[in-house]
Symmetry: C2
Subunit: 210 residues, 2 copies
């Protein structure tokens, strides 16, 4: 229901989407989840357009590691006691809103390929020969690859400009180093960056084994 | 600051602690944390009594796996847009309060042994002979073991009565099967139960290797 788009249009030049309303969507299916890591991949249907789907990736954030944040949590939380036994109390703690945010990625509109990527599936380790790569893997990659528009947006400074850490513009050996959206932007223990090379057409950096 | 003790005194007969106020404590030290699993072990000092310490164990809860909960989250959350690039939006999602609770265990008063247990430490794998067990491990266990009061509370139905799943009262072979406080009480993928035997004095069930 809530709509509160605060995207900085100057920095996020990809203006096709300046406001997002989760109320436009309804639940369709859990594609996958990891209870230990507190991650879930959820398929959503648009309420008014059954051809429009979205993948919602949610991941709880790590706890802060500094004194100031912890004192804010301790002094501003509310508690619900679940059970008590001797010196051990089992509680549900409701943190101040600042610490209640969930790191979320919305992919919309998403394609069948996105749905397949996030749906739980059996995984295999295989030995691949150079001939296998040429005759099986490469044609598959070329047929099934995702749109690279977000990569070109980043390389051409059309989006995520404020997330770039380093930029070497050389067309042969240059690359852009940027904060990945996997990172929550706060906890250094969790820092996740992405290096994207400027040279085009490279599909694999595996060393062929003959 | 908030005090909202809702312990059911009938079910949690260990009435020495019927209300808990986090405002009585302040941050002292992060003993350990795991950013991937969203867990932290925090040492707290009582504000008015420097000899009174507590260990706070916090762990974010897994996401729900049913349609109703997800539709509540989707229709009642608020959003903050962090960045947008093509079809990918990076957001912070604030869930309804029902889904914002953090599973928490408070150990108070805690001892130096609790602090040591939860403080990050180097871990080793060792080969232990029967003589090592008798001359090193067993004396250490006997000297350093935690108070077992919470276990006897559970075996004697003085606490956590509503968490017991199965109870065989035989003194030699009986045991109590109960929900562990590690479980968030909701997600079956995360279910964690504890079997506590009624026979006393067993310190180890390892098979000695001669």
């Amino acid at each position: 229901m809530s709509i509160s788009a605060e995207a900085d249009e100057g920095k996020n030049a990809d203006n096709t989407k300046v406001s997002i309303s989760m109320g436009d969507f309804k639940f369709k299916e859990i594609l996958g989840e990891d209870a230990a890591r507190k991650v879930a991949f959820v398929l959503l249907d648009a309420v008014n357009d059954c051809s429009n789907q979205a993948v919602l990736i949610v991941e709880k954030t790590p706890f802060p590691v500094n004194e100031e944040d912890w004192n804010t949590i301790v002094s501003n939380c509310s508690l619900k006691i679940v059970s008590t036994n001797d010196i051990y109390s089992n509680l549900t703690l409701f943190p101040p809103e600042k610490f209640a945010g969930i790191k979320t990625t919305l992919i919309n509109p998403c394609t069948e390929k996105h749905i397949l990527k996030y749906r739980d599936q059996k995984r295999y380790v295989i030995h691949e020969t150079w001939d296998d790569y040429k005759s099986i893997t490469l044609p598959y990659l070329e047929e099934h690859q995702f749109t690279l528009k977000w990569i070109f947006n980043l390389l051409e400074h059309k989006a995520e400009v404020d997330r770039v850490i380093f930029d070497d513009p050389d067309r042969q050996n240059g690359f852009v180093l940027a904060l990945d959206i996997k990172w929550d932007g706060k906890n250094l223990a969790n820092l996740y960056v992405l290096a994207i090379i400027r040279r085009k057409g490279i599909k694999s950096i595996r060393r062929p084994v003959y």
